[in-house]
């Protein structure tokens, strides 16, 4: 750990490597004769605290099977594939936006200011769309499983809200 800047924010660097999960067998020929071939270093941003900036120094290792001479990589259990952010950061943003009713902009600001994660609004929006499974609008419940432990007693109610749609939204034809 060392001081990062004048504001007293400390930088914490953790090191993760695929070599810690050295594969036992080649995924192609299933032989045990595997060697370390090459590597690539990637810096991944993790959720920090107001006075602590967390970064992951991730070593992406490519292995080589001596038998079939194929080069392959493994999926690290803690690091997302090709992601610049740790899964915890994405989960944090998704929870705040989808469960805690926070706005994407506010969450982005908090991530940048309080958690020292450099991220743009567009990126957070993409995470939310992915986590919220945004897609085609359903007109029936066929794709959903029926509710478990349904008691047979229901209440039906409505609430009225006027929703302003985006101006010039192509999808609404306005």
């Amino acid at each position: 750990m060392k001081a990062l800047n004048d504001r007293g924010v400390e930088l914490e660097i953790r090191e993760y490597s695929d070599a810690d999960f050295f594969p036992e067998r080649c995924p192609i020929c299933n032989k045990r004769d595997i060697i370390r071939h090459t590597y690539k270093i990637r810096t991944i941003q993790d959720l920090g605290a107001p006075h602590l900036c967390r970064r992951i120094r991730y070593e992406r290792v490519y292995f080589k099977c001596k038998a079939c001479e194929k080069v392959f990589a493994i999926d690290h259990p803690l690091v997302g594939k090709n992601s610049k952010y740790m899964p915890g950061v994405i989960e944090y943003a998704a929870t705040r936006v989808l469960d805690r009713e926070d706005s994407i902009r506010r969450v982005t600001r908090d991530l940048n200011d309080l958690h020292h994660v450099e991220v743009s609004v567009g990126t957070v929006e993409n995470w939310i769309n992915e986590c919220g499974e945004k897609g085609e609008i359903p007109e029936d419940f066929t794709e959903e499983d029926p509710p478990p432990n349904f008691s047979g007693f229901i209440s039906v109610d409505g609430t009225f809200k006027s929703v302003k749609l985006k101006k010039n939204d192509l999808k609404t034809g306005q």
Binding site: G132, D140, T172, Q174
Partner: protein
């Protein structure tokens, strides 16, 4: 539109619809029926006739329970409207008449008009106007001695003594001669006459202030009258007693409401028909109260039908859960709406609500049509 499991207390499914019409209810309930597959034991709804007609079409043999919370809300909303109407007719119009009277008197003194032409409905304001007329007649004389003698005569009259503002007027009148040392003379008349008119205005201002104080007390009383006796603290009871002493005509409203609340705490055999609610109705009653009372009387069987029920696991449960539409899901939606985040495209709206309530949400074709929605997936 949202369907909630009354026992497990979690939202089952929802639909974004263009309005609470029969067609939209049919759309939602038809899909819900196809999806759930299990038969329904009971459906709790509010007093919406459109939801009811849709429900009767999709689930013709399912017993329908009218929500107890909405029943109480319906009556208390009618009460609020009625009490606001009473406040307006008894207090606000009265205050307004005093304000108008003051303005007209100023116009007369400035020479803009000759007499007060106002349709006054309250005896107070009518009396004040007649006092002003008499005062104006006396002060139209030119001789100071005649004015003085006539004023003394006027103050001794029974009519003046009966005027509510006479004490305030006399107080201001005395001040003119004590503080400023005026005596009735031709020279001092031009100072005394405006001060006498001012004294009359001070008197009606005093009467108006009294009314405004009464109005403030009434505003407090309004909410005390509406309180459920179960939720009242001793402090509330004391305050309510004070208010009912000031406004005795509110007793009938309070008594009827307490009786109505009591019906929910007793067994169905002991319950009285809701016809007693008509005691608070008159030909001038607010239409909301009128309609609330009649709706409650029409639906009383559906409101009070279950006091306890057997759960699917054959345990007897208190009926409160099945008798009340779960409003907390609606509150969650309202909170989500207040943040106004991600609510500006239907896709976002559907995603946010579905995630927040943890239940599937469908969108009605009529809403899509209304918004001229074109899916990017087509």
């Amino acid at each position: 539109m949202l369907a909630t499991d009354s026992i497990n207390k979690n939202p089952i499914a929802g639909a974004l619809v263009a309005g609470e019409s029969k067609e939209e209810t049919l759309f939602f309930l038809t899909h819900l029926k196809q999806w759930i597959k299990k038969p329904l034991s009971l459906v709790t709804i509010d007093f919406s006739t459109r939801i009811l007609s849709g429900l009767e079409e999709v689930y013709p043999h399912v017993p329908i329970q009218k929500c107890v919370f909405h029943a109480i809300q319906l009556l208390t909303r009618g009460y609020i409207k009625e009490l606001t109407r009473i406040k307006r007719t008894r207090l606000l119009d009265h205050i307004k008449e005093f304000t108008l009277l003051r303005r007209k008197s100023l116009d007369i003194e400035k020479g803009k008009m000759l007499k007060i032409e106002l349709n006054l409905n309250f005896s107070d304001t009518q009396h004040s106007r007649s006092m002003y007329k008499s005062l104006h007649k006396i002060l139209s004389n030119t001789s100071p001695t005649i004015i003085e003698s006539k004023l003394i005569e006027f103050f001794a009259q029974q009519d003046f003594r009966a005027w509510k503002g006479h004490e305030l007027f006399l107080e201001s009148y005395k001040k003119i001669f004590i503080e400023h040392n005026f005596t009735f003379s031709r020279k001092s008349l031009k100072y005394i006459i405006p001060k006498l008119y001012k004294a009359w205005r001070a008197a009606i201002r005093g009467l108006r202030k009294d009314l405004e104080r009464t109005k403030t007390i009434f505003n407090k009383a309004k909410y005390l009258v509406l309180m459920n006796p179960k939720n009242m603290e001793p402090f509330h009871r004391r305050e309510l007693r004070k208010c009912l002493r000031i406004f005795p005509w509110l007793r009938i409203y309070r008594k009827t409401l307490v009786k109505f609340y009591y019906q929910f705490n007793i067994s169905p055999e002991k319950r009285r028909p809701l016809k007693f609610l008509t005691a608070i109705l008159s030909e001038h009653s607010h239409p909301w109260l009128n309609s609330a009372v009649h709706t409650l009387i029409e639906n009383e069987e559906n409101i009070f039908r279950y006091q306890t029920f057997l759960s699917p696991k054959t345990h007897t449960l208190p009926s409160k859960s099945i008798k009340v539409v779960k409003e907390s899901a609606n509150k969650t939606l309202n909170r989500l709406y207040r943040t106004q985040c991600g609510m500006r495209t239907i896709e976002n709206l559907q995603m946010r609500i579905s995630q927040r309530l943890s239940c599937p949400i469908i969108v009605s074709p009529s809403l899509k049509e209304k918004l001229n929605y074109q899916s990017k997936f087509n």
